[in-house]
Symmetry: D4
Subunit: 207 residues, 8 copies
């Protein structure tokens, strides 16, 4: 992807993107979005960018689609990253309310296609895979996460959308340490995981 | 085990036992110890008991031994439950400070023997196994937990100490739902897990 | 009463049911409703239920009827428990504002009939008697409470509605200790009393 | 009793006297002691008095004796009121810890005698009976309170100490309304009960 | 004036009446209104009254008239006390904003007449004079206060309205101590002054 | 008085000087001391001074002498202002504790002499009269203040100490407005009075 | 400029004028506006003025114009001071959002003309130059500030509007000390700088 | 410099290093030290390091030397970075207390030599230059900073100590934007400046 001076960059997603943004006066949160913004600001002082955190904690693909117009499209992005789906999976493991509206693999794929439709006019658009910080591939939540991300990969390929494989980034990390070393719940990336995500985003932008 | 009117019951352990006791005026915390105390108080109104929460969050066997005299022995228990060890395991998964003093399987076994020595004069003494709320037996932290609890079982058997198999209690639960349904980190039992622990303790006391 | 997998359970009542629900993020309060929910969740992991706390502190039968549609009927309960009336009695003992609208025995009976009418379509419906934690039957507030609960019993019988006699549960307890041992005001059940109520509810459901 | 210009008045007791004194900058609390002080100050502007609140919440006679020298004697009172004993009774109704050190009628009498010994050199000394705001004389806590106050009356008579019968004051009130109209627990006097106590104290001083 | 069982008593006025009522859950404030209410409740337990604090800090006669319907008339008082005017005077001593709308003696008299008109249908109506706690009659603010209260006295007499001379009450007090002994600003009555006002009100009601 | 570059200026006194200094991080308070410091800093940028607020709220001359060594002398002042005495007077008007140790005119004079002794080695030393913001000279507190300041004037004259007549400054102000226009209690100078004091101090220093 | 008894004085501007006004109950802030108000109040007690702080932190000329009617004109000023423009400059140095609407020198001049148009009917109107507390004239932000203030001077001259040269006031100060001695950011005047501004304003009014 | 698995890294300095460490539970602050720690943890998962923030806000070289033993040496560092001196300079620009103990260029050099002596036994030791975020080299504070860093460079060269030229890093940044774009005071690096420092540190370590 190519950055241009003056670009608006938007990051859409869930709590991994949100990272407590309502508690920070500038709305950037304390996760990878801030690291990316700070790096662009510090390392490219001859260019200027607007960076927007459009993550909301707890969001599934369904929630993101519902708020797309006011939170994403309204920012008129030149560059758009979207990392969504771990909550679509996770609710199968932590929510057993009989009235809960679970999101199936099929709905996930359909929703990702809708995201791509909505992002059609953006100059640079990149999907990021959700990830689960468990290195055993037979873990049941890791396995389900991979089934969902397989759908996302398929959509990205069909549509010709750029893709950042975040699971691969964390798998490389987990060759050194288990996922709990980053976060007990194996989902929230904290400081160290945000560093990994930010590096991947910056490399994809050639920074 | 046999309860007698007027008994002092002490529960020694880590955060699973502690359950935020410093935030509750009566020092009982909000976990299984409170449920056990409330049940004894409510269901046996013709008898009276003193119940003490001697859990401290983050404790390993080494930490518990260090404070045994002032926190456990000083209460002069008639009935004593001790559930300790998950932090001995967990630190191998979340702490990578090169100066950290990890607790090996051998030290764990040695420490559990020391606990048994110190509990020698207590009328009713019961070891409870630590547990990990992951139903895959090939999960690496579950596997390590089982190696440690195997040591604990061996000590209990050799010493003729009563044993409550808490891992078995949670395995039964996990035939219905994954461990994350109780807590994202698969360690802290929260409300539902405390209910399971309290039921096991009460049954062991014949209540 | 019979529980079925997927049932919605609603508990309607006053402060005994409410138990500080606005201070707990999940709205369950810290009384018997939470204990029932936790027990169902922990002990029946192969089934799933939605549990709703529909108690409001200070409510009389008149107040409960006023909010029935939005707080109870709107939840579409499969199983419904209703324990209401102690405030109908209590206001005769602690409120002497000359403009206060006291609720007579007759109005109480009329209101309980209205509750039964509104609960007509619910699959499992159970009335619970209010109770007063004073073991002397000649105590004036206990005596008045019994006059009101006599009306409730009559309605339950006529209508063929299930009935849980909570006064009997507390009378059994008070053979061991006076009511003040649970709460100074002899009305709010606290931890130990909530344990008694939850046990009665769970037994009625066959758990 | 006779007040003299310049007198130091001390009120020793439990929570009825304390009335939250640590929350008021001048240490007078918000109960009858403040009302007495304000009335003396307002109605006798040509005389000046020092008034000291020496009540401590939860105190029994045993606790009061333990702190007598530093809290009461150290004030060098000219006029001393002492109302103590309801906690000696109450703990039999709300505390069932098997290690609790209950205070028997005999110990209560012994402790009241010790109070009289310590107060020997005070110019004006007055015992006030503890009271229980329940109008049924067959109530078990009221009955026990009366057995204890009978002991106090006997000591006062033998020693020739002035006595204020606070139970009689509240009995008169309870001919109009039940005790719960003042406080749900029938022990703490709140605003209305403090008014009754203050009036009795002031009348005994001829104000 | 005559109290009847079931009466609604309303006290209209300024900060002397208000006494921080918004900080007390029952809206009675911590001044003389509470003392009057507590005394009625405690000393006349066979009768019941509703007591309303209708004072608002900073009010002048003009402010009180503006809110009369919603704050006073809406309570439908059987017994009404009104003490207002010190702010009409005080603003001449502490406010020098050139746009300030001062209240003249003439407007004060006119406003008091309007108060009397509005209170016409109340069974028992009593005006209370404002007061200034300075014993020197040549003090300029005391002098102005007296000119205003002279107008109030004239209106009360013409209309045949009961009158409580609060300045006289405080003058009696100030024969013993200067006004600063109650409050540095000589306006707010605090605890001791509230005691004096409450006694005057209660005496006027024959309590 | 003469300022020299590098001087340490100390202001000793009571609440008029203190002005809430413990609530301001630099310990200067929000009264005249800050205004003087700011003016020196702003208007004489080629010279530098250290300014110390050595006022303590509630202090009498007796209190000031007690802490002189550690609070005043320890600062090694080159220029010293001392304004003390209003509390010596005021306690006669607001404190009627029979054990209170009042300060007589004679003690006041003796204490001021002691202040002068202690200040003997300071290069520039100036006494400031206490003041009372009441323009009627027959007011009883004003009259007493003047008796005390007469003693101070006498001492200053005998010892040849510089004197700032702050009462005169406020009398001039009070030809326009009454003292309450500055503060209801006529003692604390607030913003406007601090402005007057600061101007007087600065003029005495030729700034 | 000429002050008249009864005048309304309004100060329009940015954070230098605002000075935290929302944190002060009277809305005057803690900067030069308060000092001016206090000085007028203290030094001219025979005259009375209303002083209004119409500064808002962060305002540019564009922001001020937008709110002129409701914040400035609505006060109906007799005397009006306006100091605005440092934010018009500063944003070129601290804001690099590519969508930011910078204010050019030309727009600044146009906006100042609009301010003059709106202030046309005010009896006494005075422009104050923005200032930058850096004594090196080759500093880039100082240089830009001077280009903007040159425009303001030109407008003032053409329109015949009074002008206070605040940069000159601070330059004089900075002959003694660098600008950082007042504030690290060289923009906010703090206590010492407010003293300088207030003195300039008061001198312009002949006080 | 060479990192080895298991190294302890210590960063000694002032507020640039401290970055609010007392407000973060792990004591790392929110500046470059955290970024370095996170990057090491994230990017080198096969190695483990302990990272210590030994910065204290406001420190000069003199302050750092005073606490060296307990804050730096006590950590037994394998790798040590030290960035100190901007406060030695800054106090000449913002502190004009005549008693202040300024640090001259000569003392600065002497102190840096003492730092080098104390760091003698550390395996990898690196001095970092202080920096001032003003791009004009004729700015007076920049000029003084450069005189001090010239001394530091000389010492580093003589002693053969590694040196990171942080001023050069910020000069490169300031070719794009002025220093105020990072922080109004041109001293504290905030998020963007911390990114620049962290990158320089990591590069020096070959990460």
């Amino acid at each position: 992807m190519k950055l241009k001076d003056g670009d608006v960059l938007v990051f859409a997603g869930d709590s991994t993107t949100d990272a407590g943004k309502s508690a920070t006066p500038d709305g950037l949160g304390s996760g990878y979005v801030r690291l990316v913004r700070d790096a662009l600001y510090a390392f490219l002082p001859r260019q200027n960018f607007r960076v927007v955190n459009a993550g909301v904690s707890g969001n599934t693909t369904r929630d993101l689609l519902e708020r797309w117009e006011r939170d994403v499209a309204a920012c008129d992005p030149d560059v758009l990253f979207c990392m969504i789906g771990i909550n679509d999976v996770w609710r199968h493991f932590d929510n057993f309310d009989p009235k809960h509206a679970y999101i199936s693999e099929d709905e996930y794929e359909k929703n990702i296609r809708a995201v791509c439709d909505k992002a059609a006019g953006v100059r640079e658009f990149c999907l990021m895979t959700p990830f689960y910080m468990e290195r055993s591939r037979v873990d049941e939540m890791r396995a389900m996460t991979e089934r969902y991300t397989a759908r996302l990969r398929r959509v990205a390929e069909e549509r010709g959308v750029a893709l950042l494989d975040m699971q691969a980034v964390f798998d490389e990390y987990m060759q050194g340490r288990p996922g709990q070393s980053i976060c007990w719940d194996r989902v929230h990336p904290g400081n160290a995981g945000s560093m990994l995500i930010a590096r991947a985003v910056l490399r994809s932008l050639g920074v």
